[in-house]
Symmetry: D2
Subunit: 420 residues, 4 copies
């Protein structure tokens, strides 16, 4: 499943647009066969893909967004991050999710450092973190989601204690948690009677950090997305950053979620591309494949619809990434108007729907083209069918069932509807 | 319905990428309100939009692709041609079709001249043609289609006569024919017992040229797409170009059709954008609109789905145009491998399906959002509903019902299927 | 397009289930060719199908629901009424709508008379009306809808005057109004300071009744669905029936709307059946049809999808009609629990969505199968494409954009959501 | 999840239409909770649902189609068989498949016996079989499918040997095989140089019968659908029935497959009904459910679309079953014209597509309504998502990818296409 050349390049296929992106993709490609092999066994046994993650860490892929002088590949474009993610997903969607949750944070830290904005001067030691990631000694887990709570209602708390903080709470869907050295959390910090939305970086070896290792999903079984519990975890002061007053829904926070949400689509794009290739390869090698292609109308239409769905996912994602990168390279973080932030989230959501639907369609067609053998529990397409379903629940907007309302509210007609 | 700024730019909206494109779009925008007004009456009376075409000719828009020193705007990018077409379609889809049929040829002539390829040295006087178009004295009608015949089976003939040719035949769907000064034809030239596929440029004032003015379509009623008849039309020698042996399906001819087919999607994109804006404006101004928006789930979801469909059309088209332009600016005409030509046509077809479906969806949602008043015969959305249906029959591949088979056959799996 | 026999009977095709239904269908079938011919010209000229309506009146079809001893066919089953409507729609959807608006009322009057419920004893002289319809001297127009007002908010008023009433108001979408002898209205009756929802039967020759003849729709152009104005129309006392207090949304009124809404689907079913037959006949007679069928995958899949959509519309409608008829033959009018009324409307709405979507699909496939010639303004499929669009705006629930909310609210999960 | 009453009955819900059907359904309902509980564990462990099958056998459900005087419930209507299957599927789709594969055969044997056709007089001892099934001592496994072979190309052979036959071959997807006492096979019988299509009833305790117990599917994990191998299995003469010459595609064989294919849809209908109920119950009990319903547009539309999809599956299946039963009660087996057989198979295929799509939609909506918790490996909806996928590969026509071509070929347009 190596890279295509020639006419395929016209098919809106996403290729890296920078040299650093190209290098990282090459590193992933080298590992493809190994990752694909491990993907099958990790999925079958329902265990975290630790070997695959380690191999990517060793190859520097987890340091993709770290500047070159700090030991990384120096990838700056969201487009390239997305392509790297898609290439990992071709081998193992679980690993791609684990990778993306880490890289989205690392990439954002690098962006803040690059723009040298005031956030950098105080608060988080982002430069050191990038150095640690570049040195393969730091791997991030995004521990944001809580059971039964949406993005703005969190039960994880930070309370001041001896010049630092004490953290308590439980996070779910903490992808890559078994390999994480640090948990990047969103929580509610309380100082006296005042409450704030805050972020915290909690080292995995902090006393009171506990992994439940309870991830048992329909798909993405190797992503290590179990619960992480914080029980009276002590944290130094600069490991926590106050974001704003509790309860205030700052539209500027939509920007970060929109950016990270957009790149996540790389996971589903990669899955779709792989499913397409599996179906095509199966038809090619099948003794009866050629005859079936020539005789069965639904096979021909299925191949064509698979191509159409694939070009849809690629084209829409490529176009949106280009627009986002144009903005991201010109503007520093959180320098946008509220309207612009809503606009970015609307685009991110819309593109996510398009990619989810297209990827689901490609996998559906691929299974039909391959036939009954794709219904075997361990068939790559059976895995893809389970994995891709996660897209319905990993929408960038929270809660996901309100995504449609958000898009509608951010449309011109209803800009005044955004009372959220 | 002026240009958007700010967050909308993130919505993958297509904007000109060159200054010449920008200038031409500005010229179209100036005429928008006038064109929109005439569109309604031309459609109602089912007559060719001659005033609108003339206004665009006067403003130099029909010379968009002509080099600046020959009196045009010098637009070279297919992307910009497509954007211009979309902007015209926002006011009048019929005129956009008439315009595109002309500009696709003019743009191609300019491309051949630009690359100075050997075709230029002999055969067609393309430079003079461009000069004439730049001087507003030439307007092209693409007279290719014949009733009941596909692209490769034509009944229009050229036979040698006194150092020139005699043309006989009937072409249908000759958009813009009432305003055309020249008919660019595809036909079968016979010299003795040998037959060739040929192109010919036939001046409208040639003896024997006759327009039936019989266009009476469900939609695109102002496009002037009636029959043109050639009855013993005499033609000088250099007005006809032999393309190759009759019956040989040269894949390199797919390139030109793919390029012109891709840009045609501007028509449907513009229609969809306009339908979206009409629906949004209607909801905005409706006294009960706001309440309906907030209460009816299908209204919210309809708005969101309209946004999603629009970003789909825009993103896929933008991405494909960028790939095509990258190729077109680097390679001369017909310098591609057969496989590459198939690839371009596959992309063109796939994108056309995506845009057709998306535009149809947007118009469907727009009508539902506006409600029963959009069912009035003269409502802009009722016109859009009729106009957009043409997309199903204007596919770049011929015959259209085999488009799916072509995409399937050009997919990797079935590259060997193309021999049929 | 006569009746099918043999294997087609397995395709869930709707056939009359009573002898009276069979007789009426036969009367329609006799007129089919004539109606189809007139349909084309009435549509082209945008005029009311008066000849067709008269022909059906003469043949007794408008008296279908009138008991045999009063001069009608005595059709009691909603199923049969729907089948009759579908058969008319095969020739002319406009006439089918005009017919249905009349027959739904006539059928309901016959039902009330049949059950001898108390409504009959006072108020409306339904038996006389049936007698008049049976005698071909009465044709009903349902004048309910008002511009910008939903089902519960009406601006047409009745005020007491000299032992009777004075009616003022304007109704829109009054199908069959040019042929109507009576207008059956929904309005607001005021007695002193008290207001009531009321129905009234207004003879067309009442002073102050005026037709605007302003119907100019995208489709259903022969249905005569223009405005009717009542300007100080005097009405005798027994021509008006108080339904209940103004502002109270009596769920029992949902029953009547559900019943009439369900049968209306016959219009779209008939259109779909005709479109299917037109496409099949065109392919059959086309010289190249056979080759195309055998070679183009999308043609084969299109034929199959057309069959699938058709069996969907037929099956769902047949099953729902059977359930409704089982209920209607056992229970008198308005004898149901509120929950049951909601259930009936939910079913009616859901079935209407299914039939609308299926009919739209069939017509879409039919046009693609026939190809570009179906895009001619006067092609039967171009007419079907315009006509079927009305389905989106003729939903039984009012306002139509809240239909989805109604279905959701009537689902088990949300029975308590019905606060309306 | 007991039976609904009241308004739900209008929702085209399938209820038994005979007393014997009603009794069998009651027997299933009694076991529902137990079956549902075992379903979860059998699925989790990927083992055959032997306890559930045994419970249904003990309750007489596997004898549903056996005449009352032979110990069964005497169910004759295909409609009722389908309803029984759907009710089992509400608890466990795997068991429903295992049940249906057995009951379709048993029901057919009873039908042949009922009509006393000549097949009965010679060949198979169907009466004894029914007696054995009624006595709970016989459970059938339909062993027809072979890997890589379609319905007409089989590699399992029977050769004459000492007054009987010797069977060799391997069958796949032999649902219920672990519990089967007999394997009902389709194979190729050779007598000298002549070859025949034949059916054989092979007792499980025949020497040479071997189960691989290798079923490991994405879904239907409890259905016991592994391979069965026949290695030199001796068979008495009357255990094999010659069907016709080898290679001749007798259209009359389509009848049996159409009938059994139609009823199989009960499995998917039951799954969809259960998924609907799970989603509704989850929303009901969720503390935030009510608020979400009222605020999120996609939730409301999701509920409504679920209702629409459900009524589609129910309505189409109910209507087709009624048509089939009308035919089956009037005509003996294989008494139909070829055209009629094609018609039945077309209907069966079309209905199967409708039900597959509707069930898939319902489960999709149900998961979205329930949210991320439905993505847990053991959630009933995660199981439904895996189970329902089987529908794509269990189409009644073989090979499934040609189902669309079959429908197209059986449509009026293309009746002459069937010769291929």
């Amino acid at each position: 499943m190596g890279r295509k050349s020639g006419p395929e390049r016209l098919g809106c296929e996403l290729e890296p647009v920078t040299y650093s992106g190209f290098q990282t993709v090459a590193a992933v490609t080298n590992l493809h066969d190994l990752l694909a092999e491990w993907a099958a066994t990790d999925d079958a046994e329902g265990r975290f893909a630790s070997k695959s993650v380690q191999a990517l860490v060793d190859a520097g892929v987890f340091a993709a967004a770290v500047p070159v002088d700090l030991g990384g590949f120096g990838v700056e474009r969201l487009h390239d991050i997305t392509v790297i993610t898609a290439r990992i997903a071709r081998a193992d969607a679980s690993v791609a999710v684990a990778f993306y949750m880490h890289i989205a944070l690392a990439w954002y830290f690098a962006r803040v450092v690059r723009f040298g904005t005031e956030q950098q001067s105080h608060g988080f030691p982002r430069l050191q973190w990038l150095e640690a990631i570049g040195g393969r000694s730091m791997l991030l887990c995004s521990a944001v989601t809580e059971r039964g709570a949406d993005y703005w209602n969190l039960n994880t708390t930070a309370t001041p204690s001896r010049g630092g903080w004490i953290i308590n709470g439980r996070k779910v869907l903490a992808s890559a948690s078994p390999a994480a050295t640090h948990f990047y959390c969103r929580l509610k910090a309380s100082i006296g009677h005042r409450h704030y939305l805050a972020s915290a970086m909690i080292p995995a070896d902090t006393p009171g950090v506990h992994l439940d290792n309870n991830w048992d999903g329909l798909g993405l079984r190797g992503s290590g997305s179990g619960d992480v519990v914080f029980a009276d975890c002590p944290l130094p002061e600069n490991a926590l950053l106050i974001r704003g007053e509790w309860g205030r829904r700052d539209p500027r926070m939509l920007e970060g979620r929109a950016v990270s949400g957009l790149g996540l689509n790389g996971v589903y794009l990669g899955m779709a591309e792989e499913a397409h290739d599996v179906a095509v390869a199966t038809l090619e090698k099948s003794p009866t494949g050629r005859r079936r292609r020539l005789s069965a109308a639904s096979v021909r239409v299925g191949i064509a619809e698979m191509e159409i769905a694939l070009i849809t996912a690629r084209g829409v994602l490529a176009a949106a990434l280009q627009d986002f990168d144009a903005h991201l390279t010109q503007n520093g973080p959180q320098a946008l108007s509220d309207q612009m932030c809503h606009g970015m989230m609307k685009v991110c959501q819309s593109v996510s729907f398009v990619v989810e639907r297209a990827a689901t369609d490609v996998i559906d067609h691929a299974m039909r083209l391959v036939g009954g053998s794709s219904y075997a529990a361990r068939h790559p397409l059976a895995r893809a069918y389970r994995d891709v379903r996660a897209a319905a629940f990993m929408l960038p907007y929270s809660p996901p069932e309100e995504a449609m309302d958000f898009i509608a509210s951010a449309a011109p007609v209803a800009s005044s509807m955004v009372e959220e």
